[in-house]
Subunit: 270 residues, 2 copies
């Protein structure tokens, strides 16, 4: 079964929400944990222990694990295995982007059935061209996994390059259109990352045919109602992502906060 | 002492060459090694054992280590330590790019004195905006390290986004100009990555004031004479990078091949 189908089934069962696993120092502090390897592991695995049976998708941010070196990356391997054991999907936020054999290396690391770092999907960055991402897309197709390509990010600095003009379109629109055109041949398993904090998206995703990961909800200022309003008819494809507003208030508050966002999403028709 | 000064001193002593440590399956095969963790370690550390006292800069490609999971990342930590012990500089090719706290996480991973993955410099990707890279640039300033920002890459797919138009310039030129303007405040420790395989660069780097990493020499088709011709007066800032043509013919041929490229560079005035 391909990634798009697995995602559909699981979000129907559990609701459409991805919880970001961002074990940054401030989050560890809110859990009463030290910014150590043990704190990292207690927080990241604790999130999955509490929410793993209730949330469809978890989005670990690789940077916070890499910050502890190879020992932190080993913790990430445990977290990814925990997510699998709970029947949830892992969408690993690594934003990798390279060419040729190096992109093949990343595909082996994150999308190969034999890799300890395998995730159900990863984020990738298109600065080297959407075509440079094909080794990852091909590997994802071969192993039933998914890819999310950065199109329009939620930070203000993103505009200069993402709204530059190429062939009469913005760069973000070029990414959207290229993935839309390729998706029928890719089992619709290639999605986009589009931030939730813009009053206007800067690209038209109304005809997009894959999943749209929408970070920036909660602490970064986006709301579920805002997502529905901005994404319009593409709302049905949105995977809203919340991190600090769920995980940044200690372990005991995790379930209540996740349920607030799940209910919010349902209430506005996401 | 800042990165720019350390790079100047070492390239004066040893010549201007970065050797790519790309332990991909085909390179391991050329060494008679299996594509295993042991093969990865024998190749990557073997390159530094043979060349560590003779080459100024080594550029390990993180993807080939990540392909073996956390155990591969632990090998990368050993390689980075080996490079330090030889008095050479490590320029870790990770092409990271993210925002806010996630970019801080990458800065901690690769640019902090206490991290086992610390390198003398790293590559970063600007799709989320040059401004999004400031947490890494700031950390590099604080620890005497360097940053190389992707501007114009050597692959054909890179053109669409890198030559898109923003504010009357190409995206690549926007990156060049933004770094040029910031560099006096950054101790000139922020460099560029500009591929060697273009007949024209697609951006004007003649006024650039930092180091320019130039991959694509050798197996990818670039030559030292071609670099001098294309980069013109910026040639003095170029750090030519060779990988497969040095490391892809077995351990016994490493020194001879590195010396060919060092001599080639001297002969054409690089």
């Amino acid at each position: 079964m391909g990634f798009a189908t697995r995602l559909d089934i699981l979000t129907c069962e559990r609701g459409r929400l991805a919880v970001g696993i961002d074990p940054m120092p401030s989050v560890l502090a809110s859990w009463g944990l030290e910014p150590t390897l043990a704190g990292l592991e207690a927080c990241a695995r604790g999130i999955v222990e509490e929410l793993g049976a209730h949330v469809a998708v978890f989005k670990p941010q690789s940077a916070f694990f890499e910050a502890f070196g190879s020992a932190g990356v080993a913790v990430l391997e445990h977290v990814l295995e925990d997510i699998r054991q709970c029947g949830a999907l892992s969408l690993l936020d690594v934003k990798r982007g390279d060419i040729g054999s190096s992109m093949e290396g990343y595909a082996t690391a994150y999308l190969d059935d034999a890799s300890p770092l395998r995730a159900d999907a990863i984020t990738v960055s298109p600065y080297l061209g959407v075509g440079s991402l094909l080794p990852a897309i091909d590997r994802a197709m071969a192993t039933g996994r998914g890819i999310y390509v950065l199109a329009r990010t939620s930070n203000p600095d993103g505009a200069t390059i993402q709204t530059a003009t190429t062939g009469g379109n913005t760069v973000a629109q070029h990414v959207v259109d290229t993935i839309t055109a390729g998706n029928p041949g890719w089992d619709y398993a290639v999605g986009l990352v589009v931030g939730a904090t813009h009053a206007e998206l800067g690209c038209d995703v109304s005809g997009f045919n894959g999943s749209i990961l929408v970070p920036g909800i909660g602490a970064q200022g986006g709301t579920m109602a805002g997502v529905r309003d901005v994404f319009g008819q593409a709302s049905a494809r949105v995977l809203p992502t919340v991190s600090r507003d769920v995980i940044g208030h200690g372990r005991s508050d995790l379930m209540r906060r996740a349920q607030i966002f799940l209910a919010d999403g349902r209430d506005v028709g996401l």
